[in-house]
Symmetry: C2
Subunit: 348 residues, 2 copies
């Protein structure tokens, strides 16, 4: 696995237009400059982004449509955010037993995370990522002008994954995040490479998730996924609170000192992003779930074996550890944090 | 890629029944001994074999059903012929991004060919194998009592693949075939290992079909697939006539002498299998296709690039060669054989 990222300021000149099938988020047609670039591809397929695109019930229809293009093209270029990337990567991996795929992420979240990892995914009856393949892109195009044209709330939605990457990568990345323009939804461009590199280094060592190394990237995701599924919050926000959950538990388990955790909280950019009232409501939602809902979701976790889950804790920025915990332990910690939060709100 | 074949006379004792999901051809329930073995698995999923099973339109429904079992099992055992193996292998390859799969072929065709190669496949709108993955089985169970219980016409349907394997493997295998009991649909058990080994040796060298080596196994399949698609003949029979096509062309191209080809024909077991009247009708069908039908099918060939196709010729048993030919050359050869056949029938 090589670093196959191609950074550029503008949309690249494309040589083999005829032999490329472009699968793209139809929303991009609203941006004239990008629309012009897209329409130069004679073989293109517009999709509506979102989790609905990933529903397997729609797959037969998409596959039938896409096959018409595949006989005249040699590779697929996928242009969009996470859902389009997951979908495009999956269909590329199964059409004719696998066609080369290149990714051009259009959201911060996809540019940082999902476009590189080779994990493709589809949903089944509303359950996320139950079906998928490993199909590594042969190239990932990181285009400044495309990424900067996304709505500002996209950075807010990616905040969880950036924070996760910084916690895994270390202090330098945490500090970098403080200088970004969160209100305008823009990051400092030169930082992006450092963040992506953290992900690459981990994926490279364990591309097929066989060695437990790649599991580090699951930081914030165990409870994050539960909340995403049951509380209608975007992925990045769910992961952000998943990180807070993991940090609090790491302190409780004495893997991290309470002081360090408080320092970390202070360094986080979240206070710039949303207001207290919003946070109050969100906390009520996140910590108002029934235990049976949490439990049934965790039992569906791909990594669950006999109720045991590999859980990622933080010792300090740059040092995360994986411990096997029982689902009941997660529930106990959830209750503990629920009480602590209640007490906190009562003292405010 | 190791030889992961496990030969046995009887159905094996199964240790991890609870953690295995058995996907099986429902037809097997009609054989009491096999039914008894199947029903010991608490997690089992019956399917109706045939190309309909492989239609992608049914996939969402199957996936939704199968997911219920997957959370409590660790691997999939697929028991059936080619279509069940293709289907079972495909779903195992995409559920939770890939679950270990073991195959237990129940037809000669699957035991010889499809169960080992790691190629999974689904059909799209009646077009065969348009979608699929590479997902190698961790074990292939070759069980004598299971294979011997299949109806005798299954050997007839596998004859093409056996003949192909013998042409690739060499004289020894061709001779072996003459001693089988074609009427009763039984082969000499000790020969099966030799035939399977020919396939393994080739797959091992080129598992993902990147080096052109595995393409040898396509002998008889270029026209075979056309006939299978347009003439409603079973795969083995279509491939058998595809081999005759390839042999005749090899002679025409002076890669093989006419004498050797006549000797080969005489050695073939086909005269035991069907009668002249049947063959006469079949020839009319196979050589009565319109050129546009053949051309449009060949253009859909996965291996087609700008109208060029890698075609497998035979120099002698044990020695096949691959040459790039244009689709128009295949059509020309089809017309030539059409005329030759017509002349032959006129002289009879």
């Amino acid at each position: 696995l090589k670093n196959i990222c191609q950074f550029s300021d503008q949309l690249p000149k494309w040589k083999d237009k005829k032999s490329t099938l472009l699968i793209f988020d139809q929303y991009l047609l609203k941006i004239p400059r990008i629309m012009k670039w897209i329409t130069q591809f004679p073989n293109r397929y517009a999709v509506k982004s979102g989790e609905g695109l990933k529903e397997i019930g729609q797959l037969p229809n998409h596959v039938e449509n896409l096959l018409k293009y595949i006989s005249v093209t040699q590779k697929v270029l996928v242009m969009g955010g996470g859902s389009v990337g997951d979908f495009g990567g999956f269909v590329a991996s199964i059409l004719k037993r696998g066609i080369a795929v290149e990714q051009m992420p259009t959201t911060w979240l996809a540019a940082l995370d999902s476009s590189h990892g080779g994990k493709t995914a589809m949903n089944v009856g509303g359950y996320k990522n139950q079906v998928g393949t490993y199909h590594f892109p042969t190239k990932v195009w990181i285009v400044k002008s495309v990424l900067q044209s996304q709505p500002e709330q996209r950075l807010f939605e990616a905040s969880g994954e950036f924070m996760k990457t910084a916690l895994i990568g270390g202090e330098k990345l945490l500090k970098a995040m403080q200088n970004w323009n969160w209100q305008k939804g823009q990051i400092r461009w030169s930082d992006l490479k450092d963040f992506i590199d953290v992900k690459y280094q981990i994926v490279k060592k364990d591309p097929f998730e066989k060695k437990g190394i790649r599991h580090q990237l699951n930081l914030g995701h165990t409870m994050g996924h539960v909340w995403e599924a049951h509380c209608q919050v975007p992925h990045g926000l769910a992961v952000f609170h998943g990180l807070l959950f993991d940090l609090a538990w790491s302190v409780q388990k004495k893997m991290m000192s309470a002081e360090r955790s408080v320092d970390l909280m202070d360094e986080m950019p979240w206070s710039y992003i949303w207001d207290r009232q919003f946070q109050n409501q969100l906390d009520q939602t996140l910590y108002g779930l029934s235990e049976s809902k949490i439990k049934s979701y965790l039992l569906k976790d791909k990594k669950n074996k006999d109720g045991m889950i590999q859980f990622t804790f933080v010792m300090r920025p740059g040092k995360v550890v994986i411990r096997e915990v029982h689902i009941d332990e997660i529930l106990r910690e959830y209750r503990r944090q629920q009480r602590a939060l209640q007490e906190l709100y009562e003292t405010l």
